[in-house]
Symmetry: C2
Subunit: 496 residues, 2 copies
């Protein structure tokens, strides 16, 4: 008990330590930490009345709102699990989530898809007024502290087999991750974060929680709108928002002429115009252009480029609260310079997927979380992320990971996209075959590309054959290997 610190505990401390600090801004809503604490207690009481016992789930289907943070904190106060899910999914996908998670309470914004959802044992609450009535129905009171090692947040991710899995994160993991962001981003009291990215994604949620931990201010806006982002940065003196590449360009464009004062934003250098509008920040996080390697299952970021100035590996070095090993399929550590699966241990790690005991056993083999991604230690000890593991080609005694060969192919100036498959080979069991889409108006022969890979990687990894196509078929962000195998003669994979 003395060593436990839950999200609810952090809020209870802030209510005492920061009575005058604004915790939350959302449209007309402005809450100090004591006000947020009181609402969260009322909400927790109302949820408990609705049957949300420890371990039960509460689901949010809607845009960004301060209600997301309140529901998370109320679930922490109860020892329950909160899941903010993507409400723009298809009706079929939403039905899957509701059936999978079996939530006791669902708070939803109205849409055709969310309106179609039903479940007998669930209390359905409309976001907005319905939610406010729920909060008002609760009584403030004391709750026995819940252990910080119990899951409190569920985020759907990792659709290995076409359906997503809910990664469970405990308060201990979320706060360990938050404090690693405090270190790398050098966040200080007064930090104001604009939640303009989706809160069902760990990328936004992790900064929302770090801002909570340091006692800063979370500003919520339903979704990204460049003009509204400018207005809120100016009005709330925002320190950081969830912005990258094209979003930064859109914000820069929306502020042409300097209509809004964006100087409070301490962020990454991007363009001369952008840099002149904001304050370019020199924390390790911003200096390294927010680089690193992460996934929901490690709480967000596992490695940070900001902890590895001048690194050879563009994923940088592990968080101060995590360990990384590059492991072979048999659980042994592969030597530096060789490719294996990125595996992890540490304070920020998730507690497995909700209701997936078999998958959890596989993912935690040999006492290490297996990320499903391939990586390599460079000579300076830093880590390079190669790509998703997905499948392995066996050529003679050698393992060939498609992602590694694809990376090498894509580094060729003529290649727009590439995928690598294994084709049956009488002598070597399998041979490497590349499927390549060239850039428009640029030429390259199969031999050019084979030579290019041979120069970049060990010779046994080079393709024996190259097929040229207009477009590589995809499943989400990764090549559709089943379609590629069918179209280009793939087969004989190890384990099949």
């Amino acid at each position: 008990m003395i060593h436990s610190l839950s999200l609810s505990d952090v809020l209870a401390e802030h209510a005492r330590s920061r009575p005058q600090v604004t915790a939350v801004v959302d449209g007309e809503v402005r809450l100090t930490y004591p006000e947020l604490d009181a609402r969260v207690s009322r909400l927790a009481d109302a949820l408990a009345t609705a049957g949300v016992a420890p371990g039960e789930r509460v689901l949010w289907l809607g845009q960004n709102s301060h209600a997301v943070l309140e529901l998370l904190l109320a679930c922490s106060r109860l020892g329950a699990i909160f899941c903010p899910a993507n409400w723009r999914q298809s009706a079929d996908e939403l039905r899957f989530v509701v059936e999978d998670l079996a939530p006791r309470v669902v708070v939803r914004e109205p849409s055709d898809a969310t309106a179609a959802l039903t479940a007998d044992t669930t209390l359905w609450v409309e976001a907005g007024e319905g939610y406010e009535r729920l909060v008002a129905s609760g009584s403030p009171g004391d709750f026995p502290p819940a252990a910080d090692t119990e899951p409190v947040l569920a985020l759907y991710t990792a659709a290995f087999d076409g359906r997503p899995n809910a990664a469970l994160l405990s308060s201990a993991a979320l706060l360990a991750h938050s404090v690693s962001l405090l270190v790398v981003r050098q966040m200080e009291p007064g930090f104001t974060f604009l939640n303009n990215g989706p809160l069902f994604h760990v990328g936004t949620m992790m900064f929302c929680l770090a801002t909570l931990q340091i006692g800063g201010t979370n500003v919520f806006t339903p979704a990204f709108d460049a003009e509204e982002v400018c207005r809120l940065i100016d009005a709330e003196r925002v320190t950081q928002a969830f912005l990258f590449g094209p979003m930064i360009d859109a914000v820069t464009k929306a502020n042409t002429g300097g209509k809004y004062d964006l100087s409070s934003l301490r962020f990454v250098s991007h363009s001369a115009e952008w840099d002149a509008m904001i304050t370019v920040d020199d924390s390790p996080w911003c200096r390294s252009k927010m680089g690193g390697y992460g996934q929901t299952e490690v709480g967000g970021m596992l490695t940070f480029l900001g902890l590895a100035p001048g690194a050879a590996g563009f994923a940088g070095r592990p968080s101060p609260l995590a360990q990384v090993r590059i492991l072979a399929p048999d659980g042994s550590e592969v030597p530096a310079g060789e490719v294996g699966e990125i595996c992890a241990r540490g304070k920020t790690l998730f507690s497995g997927y909700f209701a997936r005991p078999d998958l959890n056993a596989v993912k935690s083999a040999y006492g290490w979380h297996h990320t499903g991604d391939l990586g390599r230690r460079e000579p300076d000890g830093t880590i390079t992320f190669i790509g998703p593991r997905l499948r392995m080609i066996k050529s003679g005694a050698e393992n060939v990971y498609p992602a590694e060969v694809e990376r090498a192919l894509k580094a060729h100036p003529a290649v727009a996209d590439a995928a690598v498959i294994g084709i049956p080979d009488a002598t070597w069991h399998q041979a490497v075959k590349a499927v390549v889409a060239l850039k428009e108006g640029v030429e390259a022969t199969a031999d050019d590309l084979i030579d290019h890979v041979k120069n970049a990687l060990a010779s046994y990894k080079k393709p024996r054959e190259v097929a040229f196509v207009d477009v590589i078929p995809k499943r989400g962000f990764t090549p559709d290997y089943d379609a590629l195998d069918a179209a280009h003669g793939g087969g004989n994979y190890p384990g099949t």
Copy 2:
């Protein structure tokens, strides 16, 4: 297992992530992280051979040395407990420590006092060559990871009853505290800490461990020597050393004429001369002149002034990984503005004192660690440290804490020192009596001082009587209340 991160794990990660980084400098000794990792494995094996099983103790009696860090890390690798103790204690005090801790191995520097120590079941090793032979006798090998919640460091402190108690700190607590220092001091890779304060004190140890956690360089020197500190800062490009007040003046004096280049030191502003020699750092830690409240039992710092810019309370706000409550003796929370005991929960807290079950029960009453110190929440939520609790005076229904009244008395311009006792009172059970030493050549009457306290505190806290003395008798840093009671008629304390 997947969520555990011990000091030994941090070292094992650095050996992979930072193969070229210097971990340790100590005289002629320079070790990279892989070299340190290999020595720690050998040492752990040698200690295991000497009977150091999980939970057994290893004692260091000597000056600062890289051996202190190696022994701590080797004990972490074994699940054992390491204690660096003050070797300059009297023979009687050292005997008490050896009897209390019953260490399996003692590494000692030669002195009359340490040479007199004996114990049958203990392996006695001489620091220096004897220690090197011990390391060389071990074989490098794998050790099953020890849980990070087990105690790994014991530091003697808290001599409540005249004899000290060994506060036990787990890897989890030490690393949580370290990461809070990384946040407030904004430490980055490349940080180089000069261990010139005693490593048996948490103030030096906490920066040694934070430097380890961020993968920086720890430089060891046997003890504080101003000229040697200058030389090492220059030679090793030291970022921070264990320096305050008079030590900073001594270093400034030793570097008169700018013999050494101290510009790598990023530290607290102190004097015009000092500021010109170093780089004044603007991290929250240095900006706030390293203020806060701490004790060994919370891992070092519990609150930081750097987390409370413009704070009313000079102890600032809690660490991002801890909670603080100001509690009454019955375990209830006292309202803001009132004095109570500073109590804490969180990731940085100790695991109790070694072999003190009764004391541990008292210190963790109501599920909160009781620091033994008095504090108050100010209107802005920040915390003021009042002074050690020690004893309480009961006047009518009111609790009067001597430390609070003493603080008020010492704020009077004529008062050099003050102590407050309770004297028997027929009506009110006890009355407050002040014992005061005035500054030389300054006058003040009893009425002056009583009026002064009445203006500063609630009237029932003002002294009824004032006795003037030349010097307040002390026991360590605090007034010797037994002597004061005997000399000035104290008695009738509640609970006696």
